[in-house]
């Protein structure tokens, strides 16, 4: 036996042992967890017991943790508290966490801060205050600040306030509100520091005033508004020209007990006027004037809410600044005064305040509907058409009231108002009313108005003929409008195709060329068949090393994944609900669910998405011109009404046909639009959304109820912006679903789906999590991802033919992430694209080979499209790790790799045919593909299991078996399909494939076309 075989045999043996070890660990851990859970259950009940009975009983050590967790939920009264605390060993916990606070490990520091906050002892507080001043990681600081605000001792205020200085605005926004909870004590402290010129302090006072409004804050706000011009000038001179710089405002300095001195991180204790030139990177120095102006507006809004009379002053009503003027006008609606309405009428006539006046008047009606008549009178008396339209818009909120008036004696006024309302384009409510109405007289009255209006506007004619039901529409004399959609013609990108051909040629020729170079000595001497044999053997080595390198990359990623999953799991454990639900702690989210022909499952999905645990979110379902009854099913089930809903058009999309809501479900918005594909639908959803982030999700997927919370809470653990966050996808095929909730978690019965379950777990757990931990994640699945809206709008939204880049792609989800990374790097902004391994989204996967093949073709085409579109990033150091590692990986291994692999498989077959597959070669191939593949798969299962015991033991074993089977055939088949995808790209770049799906309730097998049809 030769030496190299021995080496390989050893490697194989080690790998086999490793595989078996991992599998055993997986199974043992499950049992261990069960025991641990019981151990935890026990003290919980005894704790509650002792709290109730008042008798103290010695409890085990776990009890301390359990008690602290309980404290997150209930504030116990003193007697109960002391009786429980007597029974457990809290000193042990205190000591442990005080030590942890000084750990070098970030996660450990966070954990300790949280538990110390719950302990709330004097010692804990003092230590937290100390560490908040020296902590450098903003994420940790946030947790400490939260702990201190939970303890709630006024002594912590100065430390908390000084942590604000020079921190980024994400931190400041959150901590300002935490500090606001201190109430009256804070008020006293703020009065002491009100003279501070630093913008952080001013922000703090403004934010606090929105929670605790007092005489002091009122005066402060007024002063802030009145002196804004001088202040902006001062800021400009300070940050703009570089004069007057000092350490007092430096990122690296902190407050010293002596007000004239600062503690600099580099120089130690220095004079406050000490200058080094780091001031230029202070967070507050960027856009200081703009930020200050924003603060002033915020102050105005707070005043307008609490003391609107204060703004009722010509100083503000006629202010030079249009925004202040508008806020002042709006504030007129906030307090009762006889002539406010009359004054608002005059503001309605002025072009720059008319919009706010309109809002203000609408608010007044909302509060006191009696004023409707005052307004309709004003409408009658007004002669200016434009202003009349404004009145009409205000009155249109109560259009049903006026419609009812049509049957009464003073119908003349009502006719006039309705006519103007319709002319101003607000006709959805009338259409809706007419379609439901049964009263012939009202119907004819309305039709007469419509006829008159339609004669003057073809837009309205289109609107009415499209949405009125047929009988009424013919009665109005409207003929149905045929919308002739211009047929999409897929244009061949000739340059792209040429490039692909070149690449193909290179890949096919590179190995023969290498062979020629290596064996040039025998090139023309040895007979052809012998040469072929040599070539085959060579190639087999290449392919072995190729798979080896992929496996090694994966193992590295796997290791990173494991670490990062562990960290995430620990952090999730301590992120208690009361933290996550604090005001502004988590960003607000719009869930955007595009739906194309989803009539069967849309209700299940909508129900699931409407009942998530999350502080502030809305659900926007976008019907992408479905050919089935998707929209009708929604309207019927949720009793929706078509409304005129104002929205922005930051992104160009296909025409939005209508927006539907139900007032008793403020969270739900349904959008009906012309067919334009998934990306176009999400863009439309983005235009309509109102929240800071948006979460895109396939309408046929289900979210676990805390998935959104888990994915969004990642933003708390990063000190930088998180423009995009991804979640975990798991096949739902085997599960049973009831009213949008998964009732039974089971792996699919179909073997194709089972293989995919394993494949998904491997890809997400080892791949995405690993890439995310080195901040090079480039794929966030379109089925579940969270994006910062502002960023996405900045980069032009999803790629669509009607969008900014006038380009379509099948891989729009990946493309967007790449574009965001690219833009962040180009603007040298710090960011983190994260991946939440425990935020689960369940989705349908194909159960037959044909559909699966189509899906894989599509994925590969998408990948090729994106990698070539962004090839500028390839090996470009400007794009950091993304450009140097991630993009090349995708280019080489994901895009070109399959072409190599396929050649390799061919050669393996050839080698077997020629009888050349001798032991060593076979062994190397076995080690590099099968054993390593199995190792990666089972390790992924370990990570997957870390969060929760999702699958039953029986299913888990099945998955382990499939993790072996998957490497024997399916993986090769998938590679084959990827090559197919490559070739299909050469033929037809347009014309999407359809994937077939079935409904959730697995019994009704119904084929359904997916989003991608054009």
């Amino acid at each position: 036996m030769n030496a190299s075989i021995k080496v390989w045999l050893t490697i194989a043996a080690v790998l086999i042992c490793l595989d078996i070890f991992v599998v055993f660990r997986l199974l043992l851990k499950r049992i261990a967890n069960k025991i641990r859970k019981e151990l935890l259950e026990n003290p919980k009940s005894s704790l509650v017991e002792s709290g109730v009975s008042g008798k103290s009983r010695r409890s085990p050590k776990y009890a301390a943790l359990k008690y602290l967790q309980m404290k997150q939920l209930v504030f116990l009264d003193f007697a109960k508290k002391s009786s429980i605390e007597k029974s457990i060993d809290l000193d042990w916990a205190e000591k442990k966490f005080l030590k942890g606070l000084k750990s070098a490990h970030k996660t450990k520091r966070i954990e300790s801060a949280v538990y110390l906050g719950l302990l709330g002892t004097e010692k804990a507080r003092e230590n937290l205050e100390k560490s908040i001043l020296v902590e450098k990681n903003a994420a940790v600081t946030l947790y400490i600040a939260n702990a201190l605000s939970d303890i709630g001792s006024p002594a912590s205020i100065p430390a908390l306030v000084s942590s604000l200085i020079n921190s980024n605005h994400f931190y400041r926004n959150k901590v300002n509100l935490l500090i606001s909870n201190f109430g009256e004590d804070l008020n006293v402290y703020l009065q002491q520091i009100q003279g501070d010129m630093r913008i952080e302090i001013k922000e703090l006072i403004v934010d606090c005033s929105s929670v605790h409004f007092s005489e002091f804050t009122k005066n402060f706000l007024v002063k802030l508004i009145d002196t804004r011009e001088n202040e902006i000038e001062r800021l400009n001179s300070f940050f703009g020209s570089g004069k007057g710089d000092s350490c007092a405002n430096c990122l690296y300095s902190s407050v010293s007990p002596d007000t004239n001195r600062r503690i600099c991180r580099f120089k130690g204790d220095v004079n406050a006027t000490y200058r080094c030139h780091k001031y230029k990177i202070l967070p507050v120095s960027i856009n200081s004037a703009v930020n200050y102006t924003r603060l002033v507006y915020k102050a105005c809004n707070v005043l307008s809410y609490f003391q609107p009379q204060e703004l009722d002053n010509s100083k503000y009503l006629d202010n030079d600044d249009a925004e202040i003027r508008n806020i002042a006008v709006k504030s007129l609606a906030n307090y009762n005064s006889v002539n406010n309405l009359d004054r608002l009428f005059t503001f309605l006539g002025k072009p720059d305040t008319s919009e706010s006046a309109e809002k203000a008047i609408s608010m007044i009606i909302e509060k006191n509907s009696k004023y409707i008549n005052t307004i309709s009178k004003a409408f009658q008396e007004e002669s200016n058409t434009e202003i009349r339209q404004k009145y009409a818009r205000i009155l249109s909120r109560r259009i049903e009231y006026f419609i009812m008036k049509l049957s009464s004696r003073d119908r003349k006024d009502a006719i006039e108002i309705i006519t103007v309302i319709l002319r101003s384009g607000r006709c959805s409510e009338v259409v809706d009313f007419l379609n439901k109405n049964k009263d012939l007289d009202i119907e004819n009255e309305l039709i007469a108005i419509i006829k008159q209006v339609v004669a003057q506007s073809s837009d309205l004619e289109k609107e009415f003929s499209n949405y009125l039901n047929e009988r009424i529409s013919t009665k109005c004399g409207l003929s149905p409008q045929v919308n002739t959609m211009p047929k999409m013609i897929a244009t061949k990108d000739k340059k792209l195709i040429a490039n692909l051909y070149v690449l193909l040629a290179v890949i096919i020729l590179i190995f023969p060329v290498i062979y020629c170079i290596r064996h040039q000595n025998i090139l023309f001497i040895v007979p052809f068949i012998e040469q072929l044999k040599t070539y085959v053997i060579d190639f087999n080595y290449y392919i072995a090393f190729y798979s080896m390198s992929i496996s090694i990359i994966y193992l590295v990623l796997l290791f990173l994944s494991y670490m990062s999953a562990k960290k995430q799991a620990r952090l999730w454990e301590i992120k208690n609900m009361s933290l996550l639900f604090k005001t502004k702690m988590l960003p607000s989210v719009s869930i955007i669910a595009p739906a194309y022909n989803e009539a069967k499952t849309i209700i299940e999905s909508a129900n699931s998405l409407l009942n998530l645990k999350y502080p502030d979110y809305e659900l926007i379902i976008v019907n992408d011109g479905s050919k089935d009854s998707t929209i009708d099913v929604l309207i019927k089930y949720f009793d929706l009404t078509r409304v005129d809903y104002g929205f922005r058009s930051d992104l160009h999309t296909k025409q939005v046909r209508g927006i539907y809501v139900n007032r008793s479900m403020p969270k739900l918005i349904v959008v009906d639009k012309a067919n334009g594909g998934k990306a176009d639908s999400i863009n439309a959803g983005i235009n309509i959304s109102h929240k800071e982030y948006f979460c895109c999700i396939d309408a046929d997927s289900l979210l676990e109820d805390d998935a959104l919370l888990k994915i969004a809470s990642l933003s708390l653990d990063e000190a930088v912006e998180t423009p995009a966050l991804g979640g975990n996808i798991i096949p739902i095929n085997g599960c049973s679903v009831e009213q949008g909730q998964i009732k039974n978690i089971k792996i699919p019965e179909n073997w194709i789906a089972k293989i995919q379950t394993m494949e998904y777990i491997r890809a997400f757990m080892s791949g995405r999590l690993g890439w995310a931990s080195i901040n090079s994640l480039l794929i966030i699945s379109g089925a579940f991802g969270l994006f910062r809206k502002e960023r996405v709008i900045d980069v032009g939204g999803y790629l669509t033919s009607s969008g900014k880049y006038e380009k379509d792609t099948v891989g729009e989800d990946m493309e967007l992430v790449v574009r965001i990374s690219r833009s962040m790097r180009e603007h040298s902004q710090k960011y983190k694209i994260g991946y939440a391994f425990n935020a689960n989204c369940w989705t349908e996967v194909p159960e037959d080979l044909k559909t699966l093949q189509k899906q894989r073709y599509r994925w590969q085409r998408g990948l090729i499209d994106i990698v070539t579109f962004h090839r500028k990033m390839l090996f470009n150091p400007r794009y950091g790790r993304t450009g140097m590692i991630a993009m090349p990986y995708y280019y080489i291994f994901e895009m070109m790799g399959p072409l190599v692999e396929i050649q390799g498989y061919l050669m393996v077959v050839l080698a077997a045919v020629f009888g050349l597959l001798y032991k060593e070669l076979a062994l190397i191939l076995f080690v590099s593909t099968i054993l390593m593949g199995v190792l990666i798969s089972v390790s992924s299962l370990v990570i997957e299991e870390m969060d929760s015991k999702r699958f039953e033991a029986k299913d888990l074993i099945t998955l382990i078996i499939y993790s072996v089977l998957e490497n024997l055939g399916p993986r090769q088949l998938f590679s084959f399909w990827r090559v197919g995808g490559y070739f299909s790209m050469l033929k037809t770049p347009g014309g999407w494939d359809k994937a077939e799906r079935k409904g959730f309730s697995s019994s009704n097998v119904s084929d359904k076309e997916k989003m991608n049809e054009k």
């Binding site: 509650v48 309980m70 116990l76 509907s369 009231y401 609900m577 639900f581 403020p666």
Partner: protein, 674 residues
């Protein structure tokens, strides 16, 4: 005219009229020949005399005429009697004493046979009896009709007469409308015509021979009933009705067209409307039209004026005015301009006259209002309380006598806070609110529900055939529709009291006035509903006093720690605790158990806490269970939403245990006191 001169309409009874008259009012004298005696009935006017005389003489010798019956004193009935006398006829004049006092001015010389003194009977020599039915004020105080017991023919005088430009001896299909037109003009009121028709209904009549119009051979009862139910006397007191209920403009326009068709003919009417944008059935009932109602109403008369001239307008004017008054619509413009002008020219009214007319009009409108209050509510067009009382007692008698066990329900619907509403809004807003309520009620209509409006903002609905369960569902539907409607100027709710007939029937079978019992129970339940906090359907009289020894509390949350902690503490305080992990499960528990309190998280699966609250609110029997929110989510929006759903206690987690327990204790105590 090649019509036969006389027609034998029944055995020995002849129509002896002339046929040459113009003006739409055709007179019909009749002759009864009984052996050698003959009786002439209402011989007619001077103009007709030649024909009638010739006809009579062709049947019997003049001397045989022993009696002439004069039903009342109008010249078109009696003016020719002196001429008969001059020709040498000798007869007794059979009439009412009141008529006698007037007809003597015709210069009659014959003797009188006063029916009042002869038991309203005339016995002929052969023993044949003619009976006289007094028909007072139709349209003369002493009017009578004659009934021949032998042939069972009713000589009805003016009753059952008609205007017609196309006369037929026997009534055709369109006769009903013509007849109604005539009666609306000449007969004073339904109150007067109704009892007479009731009498006719009780008689065995084979033929009606009226003095004007056509002889009625078939469907006699139908004609009698039509007159019994006719709202006549339109010149005196128009009855106001709800246009929408009657069928809208469609209905009044159809009536006009039908009237025209009966007076002229169908083809002429088609000619008028041929180029209008309406669809109609063969009988000229309009099925759809494409104008505003008001436009259609005006347009018809404009077309009539253009195509047929002012004559057609004159003919229809009374009907139009009646309809306009009744249904509160404008008189079409052409009448106001053209007609008024020609009228004024013709009459040349003096100023004094006009002033008088004004006085009259005011008087009329006063009278009208008084009348409106009698049957219908002027604002809503629904029947009023007075009508309700009559109607309801009849209905219940019917239900009682019906052994099939049919059950009927009565709903009393009272809009909440109506005092406050009236105080803070104008009168026209109050009316608008009433109208919108009626719109909603009408759109809720399922089968044969009838709505009434009582005083203020109280409505009632009678459901003829229902079950308690169905009635409750119906009431809840109404309550929710009103509460959820956007048609009112401000949010409006209604409290509803509901009673089903079987409830009281089971109790005692022999109650004196079931209608009063039903009404009182329903009324009591409304006030119960109001006192229970309004916006409630109350279908039981006694508040369920059942109280568990310990109060029951439902906890809805997915957080196990929370459920554990609270459950332990609450059970320690001797409360019964149920738990649910999602909204659907929770709602089921609420519906099944008798609960005293619901404590719920907002973010729960399947149905969130707010929707759960909404669903609970939509069922009256559980809506008053106190609802406490205990959630991590507490922000401006969620708190506002909670407030709008009437949730008073909204705790944010982490919560203070003592505070929550305190609130729970207070709420439960409050419950026990109730």
């Amino acid at each position: 005219m090649d019509m036969p001169k006389t027609v034998e309409i029944a055995n020995g009874i002849f129509w002896v009229g002339g046929s040459g008259q113009d003006g739409g009012l055709h007179c019909n004298p009749y002759l009864i020949i009984d052996g050698d005696e003959a009786v002439l009935i209402d011989p007619g006017s001077v103009l007709d005399f030649d024909y009638v005389f010739e006809n009579v003489c062709s049947l019997v010798p003049l001397g045989n005429i022993k009696y002439v019956i004069l039903h009342h004193q109008d010249p078109d009935f009696c003016a020719s009697v002196p001429l008969f006398e001059q020709k040498g006829a000798k007869f007794e004049i059979v009439t009412h004493w009141r008529t006698q006092t007037l007809i003597k001015y015709y210069g009659l010389k014959s003797d009188y046979y006063i029916v009042n003194n002869n038991e309203f009977k005339l016995v002929l020599k052969s023993g044949r009896v003619l009976g006289f039915v007094p028909t007072p004020y139709l349209h003369f105080a002493g009017a009578i009709a004659t009934y021949d017991y032998t042939s069972k023919v009713l000589f009805s005088s003016d009753l059952f007469g008609a205007f017609s430009y196309e006369w037929n001896l026997y009534a055709q299909d369109d006769y009903l409308e013509k007849m109604k037109a005539f009666h609306e003009h000449y007969m004073p009121s339904n109150d007067i015509i109704k009892p007479v028709m009731e009498v006719f209904l009780g008689m065995d009549i084979s033929l009606i021979a009226p003095q004007h119009g056509s002889i009625i051979k078939d469907s006699i009862a139908m004609y009698i009933k039509a007159l019994r139910d006719l709202e006549c006397g339109s010149f005196l007191l128009p009855i106001k009705r709800d246009l929408a209920k009657a069928g809208g403009y469609k209905f009044i326009c159809s009536s006009v067209l039908k009237r025209y068709a009966s007076i002229f003919n169908r083809e002429a009417v088609l000619d008028v409307i041929e180029d209008m944008n309406i669809t109609f059935e063969d009988d000229l009932e309009i099925t759809d039209y494409n104008y505003t109602g008001n436009t259609l109403w005006n347009l018809i008369f404009e077309k009539v004026l253009i195509k047929k001239g002012i004559q057609w307008l004159f003919v229809i004017e009374p009907l139009v005015r009646t309809l306009a008054e009744e249904y509160d619509v404008m008189i079409p413009a052409v009448f106001e301009t053209k007609l008024k002008k020609s009228e004024e020219e013709a009459a040349n009214l003096s100023n004094e006259n006009r002033a008088l007319k004004d006085v009259n009009r005011r008087l009329e409108s006063n009278l009208k209002e008084a009348e409106n209050n009698l049957i219908r509510c002027p604002v809503t067009g629904l029947y009023n309380y007075v009508f309700f009382k009559n109607y309801y007692s009849h209905e219940l008698q019917r239900v009682l006598s019906d052994k099939s066990g049919k059950n009927s329900g009565l709903l009393i619907i009272s809009l909440d806070n109506s005092e406050k509403f009236r105080y803070s809004h104008s009168n026209s807003e109050v009316e608008a609110r009433l109208r919108s309520t009626v719109y909603i009620l009408e759109s809720m209509k399922e089968e044969n529900e009838i709505y009434f409006r009582f005083q203020n903002e109280v409505f009632a609905s009678y459901i003829p055939n229902t079950t308690k369960q169905k009635a409750v569902a119906f009431a809840e539907k109404i309550r929710n529709a009103i509460a959820g409607s956007d048609k009112f100027i401000e949010k409006t709710t209604a409290s509803i009291g509901l009673v089903c007939f079987d409830e009281i029937k089971e109790d005692n079978l022999l109650i004196n006035s079931p209608e009063a019992v039903m009404y009182n129970v329903a009324k009591m339940r409304v006030s119960l509903a109001i006192s229970m906090g309004m916006n409630i359907v109350c279908s039981h009289s006694s508040i369920d006093t059942y109280q568990d020894t310990a109060a029951s509390i439902l906890l809805v949350d997915t957080d196990e720690v929370n459920i554990d902690v609270l459950k332990t503490f609450l059970e320690n305080l001797h409360y019964r605790v149920f738990t649910a992990k999602d909204g659907v499960e929770a709602l089921e528990l609420v519906e099944q158990r008798h609960l005293d309190l619901i404590i719920s998280e907002i973010m729960i699966p399947k149905m969130d806490g707010f929707i759960l609250r909404e669903k609970v609110l939509s069922q009256s029997n559980i809506k008053s269970i106190p609802f406490v929110v205990l959630s991590y989510l507490k922000n401006e929006d969620s708190v506002q939403r909670a407030a709008s759903l009437g949730i008073e206690h909204y705790f944010r987690k982490p919560f203070m245990l003592s505070e929550l327990i305190g609130v729970i204790k207070n709420i439960i105590k409050g419950e026990t006191y109730q």
